[in-house]
């Protein structure tokens, strides 16, 4: 089929079907006009700078790409980032890396396989994952822990067993954060490998060569000042100076997701269209969609954009992931119940999947201008008191402490009798070991809610990960809608790619995705013809 198309296209070219097009002199391209963003960019008369490989974004994917591009013989490699600091969202990520057949798995005697990894990701992703991509992650990711260690990353000595994974396979950095990966990789890239890393430089256009359609560079704004108060994904920010950078071998887009972009996320789910001070995100403020949108303008395939993951464990009384999320995951949801203050009743399985819980909570919250936040109520049982962040939550008023249930009802204006009935009912389920109200799995660590003082946290889902992005092949090349083939010279890796995680990303699978495809993109771009 593709051969046939190629030949019809060649016939078309031979015929030189160029009639009706203006002489180029008439082709004003709208540069600098109101609609400047509407077109893929042509080659400029003069380049302001020249590199072999240009990487946009300095998180996990961008750094891995920079390292392999240098290792594979590219002399001049540039990683650019629009923010004033490098690391993107990766630097505030949790630092969890899921890989199979690792040294720690061997040491701990855990049997794992690429197939089992795929099975887990497909189950979470509702079977719409682009399977060849996660197969690549699972297969090529087996050495990642050591690859990182060689650059100075420090891992905990034992594996984590995360929800949704059939076996323990997750490494965690000793600092419990992605910064434990970003910092050593960035240092290795710049200091050891002599790579260039330039912040405050925002991509505003991808340049394609007229004759071949090949991506040959980027338009950027140097000295860009990201507007932290913008509520529109920082669109229309024209700070800095416009420059054109040539990329002789390739451009790698490692530009992340759009969890902090009310416009683009709201297009997929209108309740997320409110500014981030009303519908918050766990992401860094730069997680906006403009680079992604530019890829669509040059013809990339939109994949899975409507799948947006909100974390149901967050607090409306602090920004981002905060300290509340850890408490809610470890204690509030497991040992407590979540109720609607208007009714005093539970409305979901507190340990259900993220998507179902977030939807149920948004329904309770209702009008975001007058939000009715659901609350988790827990008592002084062992599991609750053991929650690591409880103290910080209390200090910051993210969790409140009450001596009686009456005081809880009073503070949150809950119908007290209904609340007491609900708690009695739930306590029966705990004793029986079966929740016939919402099918929450009751384990032996859970006790009835009865021991004062009581701990209460308001809950709100926060936008956590955007599964969608552009389509790539297993070589990291961005596919074009019109041809169904790669756009020469254009690569993408990490959260800006759609497909690997399907409908829902499993925890600890973002880092391997970013690092594996970052490495693939860097290697392929470096080896590409000049």
């Amino acid at each position: 089929m593709s051969n046939k198309n190629d030949s019809t296209r060649r016939d078309f070219l031979k015929k030189g079907a160029l009639a009706g097009i203006a002489a180029a002199g008439g082709m004003t391209l709208g540069m600098g006009t109101k609609k400047a963003g509407a077109r893929a960019l042509p080659t400029p008369e003069k380049w302001d700078a020249e590199y072999d490989v240009i990487i946009v974004g300095s998180g996990f994917a961008g750094l891995a790409a920079g390292i392999t591009a240098r290792e594979n013989g590219s002399e001049k490699v540039l990683i650019l980032d629009k923010m004033p600091v490098n690391g993107g969202n990766s630097i505030i990520n949790g630092g969890l890396l899921a890989v199979v057949n690792s040294k720690l798995q061997k040491k701990e005697g855990i049997e794992d396989s690429v197939d089992l990894y795929l099975k887990d990701l497909l189950a979470a992703g509702q079977n719409i994952n682009h399977i060849e991509l996660i197969k690549t992650v699972a297969t090529e990711g087996q050495d990642l822990a050591e690859w990182c260690s060689e650059k100075g990353v420090e891992w905990n000595p034992t594996l984590e067993h995360l929800g949704g994974h059939s076996v323990p396979r997750t490494y965690l950095t000793t600092v419990s954060s992605g910064s434990g990966i970003v910092r050593p990789l960035a240092k290795h890239y710049t200091d050891k490998l002599g790579g260039k890393l330039q912040t405050r430089t925002k991509l505003t256009g991808i340049v394609r060569e007229g004759n071949t359609g090949r991506v040959v560079g980027v338009r950027v704004r140097e000295g860009y000042n990201f507007n932290y108060n913008a509520t529109n994904g920082d669109r229309g920010n024209t700070t800095g100076t416009e420059k054109y950078y040539r990329a002789k071998k390739g451009v790698i887009m490692a530009t992340g997701g759009f969890s902090q972009d009310p416009f683009f996320r709201g297009a997929q789910d209108p309740k997320l269209s409110l500014p981030t001070d009303q519908i918050d995100s766990t992401n860094h403020p730069g997680a906006t969609a403009e680079a992604l949108e530019e890829m669509f303008r040059v013809g990339a395939v939109p994949v899975h954009l409507a799948w947006i993951q909100s974390g149901p464990w967050a607090s409306p009384n602090e920004k981002g992931f905060g300290v509340g999320s850890s408490y809610q995951i470890a204690a509030g949801f497991r040992f407590g119940i979540m109720v609607d203050p208007k009714t005093g009743k539970r409305f979901m399985n507190e340990l259900g999947d993220r998507r179902t819980r977030a939807m149920a909570m948004f329904n309770v919250i209702g009008d975001p201008d007058k939000p009715n936040y659901p609350i988790s109520i827990a008592d002084s049982q062992e599991g609750v008191l053991a929650a690591q962040t409880l103290e910080k939550c209390l200090e910051r008023d993210v969790v409140l402490k009450f001596d009686t249930m009456e005081a809880v009802a009073d503070h949150f204006n809950i119908p007290e009798a209904a609340l007491n009935d609900q708690i009695k009912e739930y306590n029966r389920y705990v004793k029986k070991g079966e929740d016939t109200q919402f099918d929450k799995p009751i384990d032996q660590g859970m006790k009835p809610i009865e021991k004062a003082p009581f701990y209460v946290m308001e809950g709100v889902p926060k936008v956590h990960h955007t599964m969608g992005g552009v389509m790539i092949n297993t070589e990291g090349r961005v596919i074009e809608t019109a041809t169904q083939k790669p756009i020469e010279g254009l690569y993408a890796a990490g959260e800006t790619v759609g497909g690997p995680h399907g409908a829902s990303r499993l925890g600890s699978c973002a880092i391997p995705d970013c690092l594996v495809f970052g490495r693939i993109c860097g290697r392929n771009a470096a080896r590409d013809k000049a």
Copy 2:
């Protein structure tokens, strides 16, 4: 916020920040090259034809747009369609129109409201519908039955009550098909209003003016021969002759969905990437994504593309909707059970929602190269024998008849004991009035499966509706990612728009959406400045 952006943008314009751009002479635009699709098109030197309003697509939305554009004073209106016949997918649609406060509702004493309509659509759409769009449909759609009647459409004298609707509100054409709307509207548009309708003319590009970014015309191929055997959405088909048509007042995209486009639908769900002879669709063969993709290249916002509705009621032994779907909806699913032939066991609630059933069936089918189609098994109870299409299904071997359950097991190679156990178990649920296996709602019309002969139909989900598309506002104007504002001169209506139906479209709500927004687009384009 938008004011602030406007002013920064104006400042930028004043500064004339055009440095670094080649003289236009160097700007080859890739026209006629391999990558021709990658760029929005500039204004051609000469237009081959000139119209006031150009409408792309001749289904419900396109025809409504053509009629109102003529009625609102546009002299020269063109509707074009790539296919050899007009009507698109609308002409094979079911002809169901859901409207509120209609004459028939008044006659039948049914109380309804815009709010109730919204409630029903939001429930089906998982609350991610663009609510202002469906509010417009509900509000402005109240006169649609009469508006159609005036043009010669004939409706049944009583309303239908469709699943998911709180009250009966659905008109049905006397011919039980959308052709009963398409034909009279097309005749009215051409014969009464003197509008032009031109088939075999395919849009290949949207032309934007350099200075303003305004859409001022289209590039097409006249005399286009759609390739019915294409398995790639007919991309790269260069039949016909390239022409440029100017649209002085506006271009209206009424180009439908992409249910027949394995590449684009497969990007959202890889199991749908197989050619339509393996994963079929109920749609007409022209339901491909190329026009939609061109809108993304000129900067439109992708909305809800990942939400694709497959109808779980179809047969693998005939093309499209066929006769089997009606039987399966009316009889197979309600009075029978669906089992996996490998196990003889049920695997879903046969009356569950479309999405859940389709996913469960795809899981049973497994490898599409060696499909294991699930089968519905029904007996000779009254409800089954009353199914209107049963006879045709038997004639066409879509439904097979067996004298004994042993013969069923034998023919489909089902473990017989397991099958018999399953039927006995199900029959107990029917007698008890409660299905504790899969929670299928048991109604009084359902009888145990026991009376020979038995009727068996293989089942397969077929791609039925694509909820996603471009973002529009309530004026039918296409919104641009870069500016979050309308692209001047560009409108869209119907299935190519994303948002109204959210995650899942409710039956009989496509026609009002198409007609209301078709009318809005036609009116606004006609009134737009020249």
